[in-house]
Symmetry: C2
Subunit: 245 residues, 2 copies
């Protein structure tokens, strides 16, 4: 992984070599928690790694290490998790800016570009993370890819257009799969459908995303080119911290 990044390394901590993926997520979340200061308004992500952060934050508030924290949540599931952990949650409508957002990713490339949304919350995640002065993406090293698109790209589409567009794209040769199946698709928190697309190897992902977004009805994609300001990667060798240069 050394030499793989195109941004400077900030810090590497030593970790035991035989650590599990689950423990790595926990360690990445703990590293992010160190960046939180009392009084901050935080954006809470969605997914298994973000959930570790929510648990740790709840404990820090209960233990008195942090206070006067408010949060906005990127999904109704994270909101429930935060409320169970005793974390104050405020509505996003009244928010002008977020101090710090913490969230995981499905894939992460050497330019701190992400693919997110396999948890189904990509739209609110991108809204909250664009509103944040700083967005720390936390992940274990299994999320590192040389080229984004190892897995599928989630695309959120208004229900009126989802079947039409997926049918067109499919006939154009793309691999298209409805989240939840075409017969009874998953409905996002904002009331849209999500389709998972194979990313063509023949063109840069940003070109593919621009083409997707030229279709009316496409609300957002899981490609996050510039949102992450920092990444904290937990891996067997240590926690690497990188910042956008």
């Amino acid at each position: 992984v050394i030499g793989w990044w195109r941004s400077p390394i900030i810090e590497v901590e030593e970790l035991p070599v035989d650590i599990s993926a689950d423990e790595l997520k926990q360690i990445a979340a703990a590293a992010a928690l160190e960046q939180v200061r009392s009084g901050m308004l935080l954006g809470l992500g969605t997914g298994s790694t973000a959930a570790r952060f929510v648990e740790l934050l709840g404990r820090a508030l209960a233990g008195g290490e942090l206070e006067k924290i408010e949060t906005v949540c990127t999904s109704s599931s994270t909101e429930q998790l935060a409320q169970r952990a005793g974390i104050p949650v405020v509505g996003f409508s009244s928010i002008y800016a977020v101090d710090l957002a913490i969230d995981g990713a499905d894939e992460l490339d050497p330019d701190l570009r992400l693919i997110k949304g396999r948890g189904g919350a990509l739209l609110r995640e991108k809204i909250v993370e664009q509103a944040a002065a700083r967005f720390i993406c936390i992940a274990d090293e299994s999320k590192l890819v040389e080229r984004l698109g190892r897995g599928t790209l989630p695309v959120e589409i208004v229900r009126f257009a989802s079947h039409h567009l997926s049918s067109r794209w499919s006939r154009q040769g793309l691999e298209v799969e409805f989240r939840g199946g075409a017969a009874s698709p998953y409905v996002s928190d904002e009331g849209h459908h999500i389709v998972d697309l194979g990313v063509p190897a023949s063109e840069p992902i940003e070109t593919f995303v621009a083409w997707l977004r030229s279709h009316a009805g496409v609300v957002e994609t899981g490609f996050f080119p510039t949102e992450a300001t920092d990444v904290f990667i937990a891996r067997a060798g240590g926690v690497e911290r990188r910042s956008r240069s």
Copy 2:
């Protein structure tokens, strides 16, 4: 108006000089109806001019001049209008392509670029019109502008982000108004809010729209740069027909 367009004129018909704006809409709609052939799948627009077309289409089907027409509608209000006029309506989900879409516009520039959406249906309109092999925009001459943005630009935003984004844009100096008022905003057929933005004179509208669309949560804008393939403009001097060159 002669010399104003940057696309070739197809035809001008003579009309009486003292004709009313209402009659002009009717005449533009009648000109569009002449382009419809039996067996077509049509996209029906939304608004006062599109409503004239729906009425005329209903009469042509009732009178037997046209048959085997199916339609998809760009709003629930147009769907009701079509059903009352006895026009067969099909769901858009099952549709692969539309033969011909007919719709009005709020503003129309010399490059056949439109601003639409003051009727609140811009998203479904753009989806259906992008799916159409041909989209004839019908309008009376009051809609012609040298530069788009004489009025406001409608922007459709997911509810989660609408207050946040409108507050940011407002502090950045933009004129921002919630459709229906910020306290109880209008909700579109797709469940979103619409804000009407003043268009800055300092930059090309396409630059402004690209900036707007870089904000997660913006679903669509009322700027239709390439969708109209033809425009039929009814004015005191006649009906002008222009096609995208």
